[in-house]
């Protein structure tokens, strides 16, 4: 009964999406606004229908209705209720349905919010967004229907993949999906601008916040994913250049390039074509990312052929790409800029350098990620690119990007003299050099670390100076006390200072990443009860281990250890291994003594209770790893500052003509 209702809801949703696309097309063609309006209503109606399907699937999961294949596959009776709910995105069919739901939310919200503002764009935006929705609903309905029934009713289900049972998994995938789906809106409006020929920056202003919000979620997804890996995967790190990770990093990179380059179009009315290209690229990477995350296609081209979903995704990306390129070339002339670049040293040039570096990183990551596929197709042998190669290739590019990030805010629109930049950077450069001198005295000799830390500290000083200069300017001009001046500065110019917050977050993360990359220490040793091991300042004494059953099919083996920092007792810790007996899948869950300067990260790899009272431990010293998370938090705060709705600006957005701004600008 419930599964039938679910399929029916999906069917109706599919119908309304098809209707929306057709009605928008017909209404626009025959110039009958009421048809376009009807199309809009249809996109809004799609939302409750998809929401109903999601709701019904969640109910089935909660009721452990194992007559449904998906429920059987991803849940089991013993799972706690919150995990049953999150099992909605624990498998392919469910996550596609969830994707559909989020797309419907974004589309409906965009229609309701932007409806009154840009009628000319609306018909096209509905067509593009609906076409995407039709594709995904079609997949959910015909290929990967989450309500498909099993031929038999199993007494219990498989249970959720153990990796996905961590609380971090409750929010990490939805964040990523929100980010992915969110980029559909700027893409739809970008294409609408192309198709309607209304090629000014209306579409950019209209979708600026949507883009920022999508980007925010994608960033959050990446950061939470890293944290989850650190807490659950038990290899002492947070990023492994895994294809799935890269699949979400790539659209993030393209989106970052887009967020920067649109500012050139807003201020200088240049690079319209380029911005269109970037949003098309971002959208295509989002779709292929969605596909890679679920299909396992990178590990082998053979998994591509196993499911009908592979060729369909490939076809959809191809259609969208060809369609986008067709319109780009058709509007080629109209997209030409009337304005020109005045200098290599200018704000707009700095944004271009930023785009060049980001796209270079993107291209490298793309090549390395897809290399296994190319290799298998061409040589027949499965290839692989590991983290060391990624780090060698992207490291220098990231370094250059951080350097640019520090210097670029000093440039001005149109042109800046080299002298002015030189004046601005020489003291910060010297200060950063002194910092490096101190590090050398402290015994750091690795030239990569020294160069990297010089760049990062240099950028940090420059970024902090931006805050200082602005605050001091207000203090002088208005006689405000420092904190008021600072707060008003943030409030009045959210986009610019939100951006600098984000830069600051990246810098703090960079300190952590460089330290982790170059100064992480580790050791592995077998200990008998009572023995100690030491690493750096830390000592760890093994007190014993015990094995006991956990919830559901879980078998936990937990060690108890005492940790001493420089001989001072700091507490008892419990690294453990978990075994999900049904699938026989082991997991190594770390415990860590975590401080601002480093984490002492402990893993118990092996315990043999029968043979002896010995256990194998692996411990890491992770310097500045908490800076990565702290940087992430600063980053998110910055994005929130930049994206926060601004009533005044909303009102002027549409009416404001292109204007020349004298000072730095956002």
């Amino acid at each position: 009964m419930i599964p039938d209702l679910g399929t029916i809801a999906l069917g109706f949703a599919f119908g309304t999406a098809v209707y929306a696309a057709l009605a928008a097309w017909y209404g626009h063609r025959t110039d009958q606004p009421r048809w376009v309006e009807s199309a809009r209503n249809a996109t809004i109606i799609t939302l409750p229908l998809v929401a109903l399907a999601c709701f019904l699937l969640i109910i089935s999961l909660l009721r452990s209705d194992f007559s449904i294949e998906y429920v059987w596959r991803v849940s089991s009776r013993g799972m706690p209720d919150y995990l049953k709910v999150t099992a909605l995105w624990g498998g392919q069919a469910g996550s596609l349905l969830f994707w559909n739901f989020l797309l419907a939310v974004f589309t409906a919200a965009a229609m309701m919010r932007n409806w009154r503002r840009q009628r000319e764009l609306m018909a096209y935006a509905i067509m593009v967004a609906s076409f995407t929705q039709i594709f995904f609903l079609g997949l959910s309905l015909f290929i990967e229907n989450p309500f498909n029934r099993l031929a038999f009713v199993s007494p219990d289900g498989n249970g959720l993949n153990p990796l996905l049972r961590h609380p971090g998994m409750i929010i990490h995938p939805p964040m990523l999906y929100l980010g992915f789906v969110g980029f559909t809106i700027p893409y739809a409006f970008g294409m609408a601008a192309l198709m309607s020929g209304k090629l000014d920056d209306t579409w950019i202003r209209l979708t600026r916040r949507w883009t920022l919000v999508a980007w925010l979620f994608l960033s959050l997804g990446l950061i939470l994913g890293g944290r989850w890996a650190y807490d659950v995967l038990g290899w002492g790190g947070y990023w492994a250049w895994d294809p799935v990770e890269n699949a979400s990093l790539m659209p993030w990179l393209a989106g970052t390039a887009f967020l920067h380059s649109v500012m050139i179009q807003e201020k200088r009315d240049m690079f319209k074509m380029w911005n269109m290209f970037l949003i098309v690229l971002t959208f295509c990477l989002v779709i292929s990312g969605t596909f890679i995350v679920r299909s396992g296609v990178i590990s082998s081209v053979h998994s591509f052929a196993q499911s009908a979903i592979g060729p369909l995704f490939f076809g959809f990306i191809a259609i969208m790409f060809v369609f986008s390129v067709y319109w780009l070339s058709k509007r080629h002339e109209a997209l030409k800029s009337e304005n020109h670049l005045n200098s290599f040293l200018s704000r707009e040039a700095a944004f271009l350098y930023n785009n060049f570096l980001i796209l270079a990183i993107l291209a490298v990551v793309f090549l390395f990620t897809y290399y296994p596929i190319f290799s298998e197709l061409i040589t027949g042998e499965k290839g692989f690119v590991g983290p060391p190669v990624y780090e060698q290739a992207t490291g220098p590019l990231f370094g250059a990007l951080v350097l640019l990030m520090g210097v670029a805010p000093m440039t001005m629109w149109y042109r800046t003299s080299a002298q002015r930049i030189g004046m601005g950077v020489r003291w910060p450069a010297l200060a950063a050099l002194i910092f490096i001198g101190v590090l050398i005295v402290l015994g750091i000799r690795d030239w990569r670390a020294l160069l990297g830390l010089w760049i990062v500290s240099f950028a940090a000083i420059l970024t902090l100076l931006e805050f200082w200069k602005g605050t001091r300017g207000r203090m002088k001009a208005k006689g405000e006390p420092p904190w008021t001046a600072f707060a008003t500065l943030m409030g009045r110019n959210r986009r610019r200072y939100g951006g600098y917050w984000i830069h600051m977050g990246v810098i703090v993360m960079a300190f952590g990443i460089i330290s982790m990359e170059l100064f992480q220490e580790q050791t592995q040793i077998r200990l008998t009860v009572g023995d100690t091991l030491s690493l750096g300042r830390y000592e760890m004494q093994f007190l014993g281990a015990s094995r006991f059953p956990g919830p559901d099919d879980l078998l936990i083996t937990q060690a108890t250890v005492d940790v001493y920092d420089n001989g001072r007792y700091v507490g008892q810790f419990y690294p453990r291994t978990e075994l999900y007996t049904r699938t026989n899948q082991p997991m190594t869950i770390p415990d860590a003594r975590s401080t601002i300067s480093e984490d002492f990260y402990m893993l118990m790899i092996n315990w043999e209770p029968t043979s002896s009272n010995q256990a194998t431990f692996r411990v890491y010293l992770n310097p500045l790893v908490n800076w990565v998370w702290a940087g992430g938090i600063i980053f998110v705060i910055g994005t929130l500052i930049a994206a926060w709705p601004d009533r005044k600006e909303e009102l002027v957005t549409v009416s404001r003509p292109h204007q020349t701004v004298l000072a730095g600008g956002d």
């Binding site: 020109h340 690119v385 983290p387 060391p388 580790q522 050791t523 692996r618 020349t660």
Partner: protein, 184 residues
């Protein structure tokens, strides 16, 4: 009596010597066993840059599966036999293909991993510089022309106007102040 004693003396000497020899052998044996013992850290240092074909993108040194534990034991044996890191990596690459190496060898098809980025960055860089230079030349031409007839007066103004005041507009702080005043 004397002879018996002598014999016992000899016996003692023999026993003592025997004991010494056994001890020597024993310590030698222990010492040899110690040099032959491979620590987990040594195994991990080799395993770190290997990936088994089954456990996607989990480095061998941290992979918790049974198969990977067996691979690590294999590394341990080979290290004990005196093989070097490179020889062991070579062994796994021959057995299971280059796909197990984190750092693919620079031969055959995998050369594109190095060639493409270099070529790409080079071509991209040249195109980019040419493009920017082109834009700048046009920009300079537009800026130096009195009022180009092709431009409307308004757009010409937007090109021309800001260049002069910006160069002369004092330092950054005063610009920020101006702007903040304007915003108020």
């Amino acid at each position: 009596m004397k002879e018996r004693l002598r014999i016992t003396d000899y016996g003692l000497c023999f026993t003592f010597c025997g004991l010494l020899l056994t001890l020597l052998f024993l310590t030698a044996g222990v010492a040899m066993a110690q040099t032959g013992e491979v620590t987990d850290d040594e195994v991990n240092a080799v395993a770190k840059d290997l990936f088994c074909p089954v456990c996607e993108s989990t480095p061998l040194d941290v992979c918790p599966t049974k198969a990977c534990a067996d691979w690590r034991e294999l590394i341990r044996t080979q290290l004990a036999e005196g093989k070097t890191r490179a020889e062991i990596h070579d062994y796994f690459a021959r057995q299971y293909g280059d796909g197990v190496l984190a750092d693919p060898p620079k031969r055959g098809f995998s050369l594109i991993l190095w060639a493409l980025p270099v070529i790409g960055v080079a071509i991209g860089g040249v195109l980019f510089v040419r493009y920017v230079r082109n834009l700048r030349r046009e920009g300079d031409a537009a800026a130096t022309a009195v009022v180009p007839t092709t431009l409307s007066p308004a757009s010409a103004a937007s090109v021309l106007q800001p260049i002069v005041p910006l160069e002369a507009s004092g330092d950054y702080v005063s610009r920020v102040e101006e702007e903040l005043l304007a915003r108020k």
